[in-house]
């Protein structure tokens, strides 16, 4: 990959569901590029294709037509297991609903991606503790999700996403379930990870406030990119 080349490239990406009359185009020829280290917010009305785009960016899904390349790899044409490997090595996920394993402690949740990497148990434990410290959850390692608040659960999820030192963090409405104070705490944490670790972040949000933390905002409308604005241009 040449220096300065984008981390993520959409080349006329289509994603369609259903057949004939009922065919829906969640993405209709999207062109897009995101560079390493960028912090991008993705906005747009409900059903405009944000989550669909995020799933492709995170190598969870593949385009119906067009090309998606991730780190110069044609990720849209890889098989399931190869995409799983890409996700495990380079991508961290944060979801609106936290998606932690129930009845499993914070530390064990954070360790999970390392298990699939074959990291030895002792080192797993250390790395998990470090990640939990990074998100400010020291002392909560052995609590299960049911014993943690929403904000704390989302911090565990972020710790799980960054424990593998990924290149890209994909966050679909990470603050969607949180109150204002908790939202800002989480956003500050993400900003810090972006600036300190150089983590590339792609984040979906409905709130302008939240998008304000990112340096770039892409607006989707009916499966198209409607606008793509850098923060400096806004100011």
């Amino acid at each position: 990959m040449a220096a300065g080349a984008p981390l993520i490239t959409f080349d006329k990406v289509w994603k369609s569901y259903g057949q004939g009359e009922a065919r829906v185009h969640a993405l209709a020829g999207v062109d897009l590029a995101i560079k390493r280290g960028e912090f991008v917010a993705i906005m747009g009305p409900s059903g405009s294709g944000k989550s669909t785009a995020m799933n492709i960016i995170g190598c969870l899904d593949t385009p119906t037509a067009g090309t998606y390349s991730f780190m110069g790899i044609d990720a849209g044409r890889l098989d399931r297991n190869r995409r799983a490997m890409l996700r495990n090595l380079y991508v961290g996920f944060v979801f609106q609903g936290y998606n932690l394993l129930a009845r499993t402690t914070a530390a064990e949740n954070v360790e999970l991606p390392l298990i699939y990497r074959g990291v030895a148990s002792r080192e797993r434990r250390n790395l998990a503790m470090q990640a939990l410290a990074q998100v400010g959850l020291v002392g909560r390692e052995h609590h299960t999700p049911a014993e943690l608040s929403g904000g704390q659960q989302q911090r565990v999820a972020i710790a799980r996403a960054i424990v593998t030192r990924p290149t890209l963090l994909v966050a679909d409405e990470p603050t969607g379930n949180l109150d204002t104070a908790r939202t800002h705490e989480i956003m500050e944490l993400l900003t810090q990870l972006n600036t300190e670790l150089g983590l590339t972040i792609a984040m979906v949000t409905h709130e302008v406030d939240v998008a304000g933390y990112a340096e770039r905002t892409i607006r989707f409308l009916d499966g198209h990119v409607a606008s793509d604005i850098m923060k400096v241009e806004l100011a």
Partner: protein, 405 residues
């Protein structure tokens, strides 16, 4: 990684103790039934073998008549030529490899002492009979050679006869009446109990052959000749020798069939044992069907488990689990579950077999091979029936799985 997965599955089994237990029930009952069946079965086989060996070990029994079925219609063969004293003498003179050779003629006869009476198996024989049949005397003495030769009215009685006439008292020297002839008791035979077929082996009276022939049978025939092989000679080797000697003694020309039959009690014992083994195998197979039902139970619960944990599977897939990781996780869980059921089943099965061996007075004969097989089989059932649900989990689309409520 695999150990990690085993721990994980144990944890998920513990989380649903009641449900796991109910799922296991099928396997537990199946394995318990198979283990109990096979253990009781092999105990029965041992018992049957022991019963038959009570008849005497390494024993050949010769009787007159063709080996199987009557001869041609109207042929002279059909007239059965009984065994005679000279046949016995020929064997005693020429047969090598025999530990004991003894004649025996039997009849059910009414035996009377005082006012009591009893129908007993009365046998006319000689002093080698006890050795041929591995039979010992509790008290008294066997017939002497001169008693055998002269046909003196002396007899040995079995435990049942003693109980009937004398209770626990000493029968020696008493005179009993056997079919209108009297005979003096000179010894008591060791109790042998019942055979596996319910025949009382102790309701017997032994007397010298000549006495029997003269006073009870009224002829000079010998019904059977018992030949016990010595320790170095297998009965299969002894049998043709006996045949040769007897054909010679009975002047049977080579173009004619023998007019006597030789039965090998060892062979009969083996045949009986293999019959009970077959029976046991069949019962075991029937019990094995319930294992299949148990397997279907495992499959059912694993399908429920995969559905319940769809979101968990989605999370695991999203953070980089391969299909094979999910597959292994659920396969291990199913295997651990059914292995657990198998082990519980083995313990219950052994307990049942132990109980049965106490009440049926058969030996408790657990077989390590069968137990190992049950362990292996229950693990296999977990893998086989867990495979379909596990595959279903592994094939889930991560996006759909994550969205699952």
């Amino acid at each position: 990684m695999i150990w990690e997965t085993v721990r994980l599955s144990l944890r998920s089994i513990r989380r649903n103790v009641l449900r796991s237990f109910l799922t296991l029930l099928g396997i537990v009952i199946g394995v318990a039934a198979v283990i109990a069946m096979l253990t009781i079965g092999s105990g029965t086989t041992e018992k049957v073998k022991a019963d038959i060996s009570k008849l005497g070990s390494n024993l050949l029994v010769v009787r007159s008549g063709r080996p199987a079925g009557p001869g041609g219609p109207g042929g002279l063969d059909q007239v059965v030529r009984p065994l005679a004293e000279k046949d016995l003498e020929a064997l005693v003179a020429h047969l090598s490899g025999a530990r004991a050779i003894s004649p025996a003629s039997q009849k059910q006869v009414r035996v009377i002492f005082g006012t009591e009476s009893l129908t007993s198996g009365v046998t006319g024989t000689d002093s080698a009979y006890l050795e041929a049949r591995d039979w010992k005397l509790v008290s008294g003495r066997p017939f002497s050679d001169s008693e055998t030769r002269s046909g003196t009215g002396v007899c040995l009685i079995g435990e049942t006869v003693r109980q009937q006439f004398f209770g626990d008292g000493d029968p020696e020297g008493e005179i009993i009446r056997v079919n209108r002839t009297s005979c003096k008791i000179i010894g008591l035979l060791e109790a042998k109990g019942y055979t596996g077929f319910g025949q009382d082996q102790d309701n017997v009276v032994l007397m010298p052959l000549h006495a029997y022939q003269r006073r009870i049978a009224g002829n000079r025939d010998i019904d059977n000749i018992y030949i016990a092989a010595d320790d170095r000679t297998p009965t299969s080797e002894l049998q043709p020798r006996v045949e040769d000697i007897l054909r010679d003694a009975r002047r049977i020309t080579p173009d004619r069939e023998s007019d006597f039959a030789i039965r090998d009690m060892t062979q009969i014992a083996d045949a009986m044992a293999s019959a009970t083994t077959t029976m046991t195998g069949m019962l075991g197979a029937v019990a094995g069907v319930s294992l299949l039902v148990g397997g279907i139970g495992i499959m059912n619960i694993m399908l429920v488990s995969v559905t319940e944990r769809t979101r968990e599977i989605g999370i695991r897939l999203a953070i980089g689990a391969h299909e094979k990781h999910i597959l292994i996780q659920f396969l291990v869980e199913a295997t651990v579950l059914s292995l657990l059921g198998g082990i519980i089943g083995i313990l219950i099965g052994l307990a049942l077999a132990g109980l049965a061996s106490l009440t049926l007075t058969i030996p408790f004969a657990p077989s390590p091979a069968v137990i190992l097989l049950a362990v292996g089989f229950s693990a296999l059932i977990g893998m086989v029936f867990g495979f379909f649900p596990a595959m279903r989990g592994a094939r889930l689309n991560p996006i759909d799985a994550l969205r699952h409520e």
